[in-house]
Symmetry: C2
Subunit: 449 residues, 2 copies
């Protein structure tokens, strides 16, 4: 939207990435009960501010913003409109729908100076329905309406745990749809689920979509998206022969209800939840459209994605105990370029690092320069591998040869190559092109039901 | 960051833009006490959710996101790092700096289920200082640190007014800097102010930068950025002969303290505020770096921009009583293309609208199609002018001539032209290129002091 006027270089020396030096013989910290959470703190991706609340540091926010862009892209494809609703919601709205009593324990609530009570929103069904009600009755021509936002949400969890996986303040993407009748609403529901399927395929972490319980949100039916992981708090059952998937809240038996074969049980993390709501909110709050001259309640759907949780869960699934690994489209920087150490024999070749940086950057690939040249390549390489930059280019010993050669460390393929300048650029361009096409080819092993 | 896989068309029929039809003889509404606020509500840019809180609808959020992009751009130029801090802040932090008592009346506060008190943040000095303290003492090599965020803020105003100009929940951009000593902090302060000057020049609305009072934020000195407008709540004094500018809180006399000439007084809206804080926060909260083996408090600066307020104030200044006008870089869509009415004589030429749309879109210009072809051109033209799309292309009567001609309505230049297909494209490309270069040439009449 605006032009870059100055050449800029992303430099690790300027990056705010406080690294925790953990003594080798230290005991595992209590709160750090998952490997990804430990690594996210140690590598300066997030940092706790208070119980269940986390600062997103530059690398963490950068990954989140890439996820936001993927979401915006999928939403534009289905003509969903982005809005931003206030986070404080009059509690009278929640009284009107009967949710205040049910959810009270987990709500953050406050009174303003005029003694009016507000809820710090965990979800926006009432708020968005009240917005639509304020312009009701709508003309049928305006339907379907699909409004979404990406914003902070709150839940006063009794026991927050695992960093951003179960925090008390977190980032959600929530979408609300309004249709004329149940058939249309079901069409919209399927369209949105298709967009969510696409999104999860692009992220590239294996997911499973299951039949789910509607819980206190309510409505006629519901699906959940899960990442299978041993740190999960829910259990999903799946049947490999007939593609039946459900949460144990829906189906708690060991045999499949469709084909009677034995079911697999997997612990998993819920990362998305979709509901066909019907008129549970539109009726009490009077969100309507005109049919035959009369106002008729709109039929709603709602669709949530836990964005910070997707990030945390994906990192948990992809990382090793020692090194972070990111979903390809969410990695903060794709390439880390490393000039030689100051005063080393190769120091004279350090201009190659700048040149490689520039050419990669001009190819539209996200790159960062590790210009902390007071550190050895070895020390910086450990940091880069732990941070999880998938491609690390080192201007090392062979950079002073008559035909200079550079190291590429490819963390996804787990290999190292020595390549010429052109070879480096080609390699990075090719792997990056692959990445984009790979989204489309990426097969989802667990099919949706 | 990701490729568009499908051709997409932005269509007004899909846009959620509830238009208020205001009866001609209606009295002005009480809450609508400024022309821009009335227009923003009538044209579906924002909509009130409760006292002093506003839903940003798709067009409003789109403008805000363009402003965010401008901010991100300027911040990248000065190596500032984007973060996101939790909105809930333990009130103990505010007790430690002595601000809790001073600000209490305007704070939204709550208790969690463990009876711990939190503030819904109006500003993040304590929170960010506590983050830095958690990784203190820093090495001097890490300085300066510049962290910023774009996020919601809250202030429990006694009397919210004028829509997003003085709301209780609003979007701020806040930047915090950390330096080794006062001289370095002053250098950083000047660097950031330069970036803010650039930003305000790009937005293009005439601004004035004045000496200001440090108020309850504190610190050694402070500047404010103001938009001159009769709906403003502050008064700035300026001397045209010696370029002295100040708020009346700083200088409340009629003559200039530098040259004794008479001062001009103008009501204005404060849109930015910068502070050289010193160690007011870093000392009690122990944000330090190591000098001579000892921890020394960091010298801080803080820099706020009221993003939703900038948007509201700019619209107030640029709009007429009847029609919205946006700052060029913030307009939700630059071009609105209008195909003929269904069933009209020109209906056969409607393919030109699609073609024009596609070519403009491929030129990287933000465009929207007013495909509500059940409405006349006249009706849609009124909506487009009131919404403030600066370039409106109409496929009208002359589109069926042997050499088809199209109307361009240029709202900035207040003129209408009849041009060929190529002429339309050229005109739009040229004005859009101009727009980018105009940023750089844009003179700021009120110089900073």
């Amino acid at each position: 939207m605006s032009k870059k006027l100055l050449p800029r270089v992303n430099r690790i020396s300027k990056l705010f990435q406080p690294l925790n030096i953990v003594p080798k013989d230290s005991k595992p910290r209590d709160e750090a009960s998952s490997k990804s959470y430990k690594l996210m703190v140690d590598m300066g991706i997030i940092r706790q501010s208070s119980n269940g609340m986390y600062n997103l540091l530059p690398l963490g926010l950068r990954a989140l913003e890439k996820l936001n862009t993927l979401v915006d892209d999928e939403m534009a494809n289905i003509d969903a409109q982005k809005v931003l609703l206030p986070h404080l919601i009059p509690s009278t709205l929640w009284k009107a729908t009967g949710r205040l009593e049910v959810a009270e324990n987990e709500l953050f609530m406050l009174h303003d100076r005029h003694q009016k009570q507000y809820i710090l929103s965990p979800t926006h069904e009432e708020a968005v329905t009240s917005l639509i009600a304020s312009v009701s009755p709508l003309s049928k021509k305006m339907l379907p309406i699909k409004l979404y936002q990406i914003s902070s949400k709150w839940r006063d969890e009794m026991k927050p745990r695992l960093g951003v996986l179960r925090g008390r303040e977190f980032i959600m993407k929530d979408l609300y749809t309004f249709d004329a009748d149940l058939d249309k609403a079901k069409e919209t529901y399927d369209l949105v689920c298709k967009a969510y399927d696409n999104l999860f395929q692009k992220i590239g972490v294996e997911f499973v979509k299951v039949a789910a319980d509607t819980g206190i949100i309510g409505g006629s039916f519901s699906n959940e998206y899960h990442y299978v992981s041993n740190i999960g708090e829910t259990v999903v059952v799946s049947c490999t022969s007939c593609n039946y998937f459900a949460t144990t809240e829906i189906h708690n038996k060991s045999s499949c209800p469709q084909c009677q074969r034995e079911l697999c049980h997997n612990t998993s993390v819920e990362v998305g939840h979709t509901f066909l709501l019907g008129t549970k909110y539109s009726e009490p709050l009077k969100a309507t459209y005109t049919a035959n001259g009369k106002p008729v309640p709109l039929v709603m759907g709602c669709f949530g994605l836990g964005l910070t949780r997707i990030l945390g869960a994906a990192l948990e699934i992809l990382s090793s105990d020692e090194e972070l690994r990111w979903p390809r489209p969410l990695v903060p920087y794709n390439v880390c370029v490393m000039p030689p150490k100051n005063g080393s024999k190769e120091a004279s070749a350090s201009r190659y690092a700048d040149d490689i940086y520039q050419v990669i950057e001009q190819s539209g690939i996200d790159v960062i320069l590790d210009d902390r040249t007071h550190f050895t390549i070895g020390k910086r390489m450990i940091d880069a591998r732990r941070t999880g930059y998938p491609y690390i280019v080192v201007v090392g010993k062979r950079s002073t040869e008559p035909r200079p050669m550079f190291e590429i460390h490819d963390l996804y393929e787990d290999k190292r190559l020595d390549l010429s300048f052109e070879g480096v650029i080609d390699y990075l361009r090719t792997t990056n092109d692959d990445q984009t096409t790979r989204y489309e080819m990426n097969e989802v092993r667990y099919k949706s039901n």
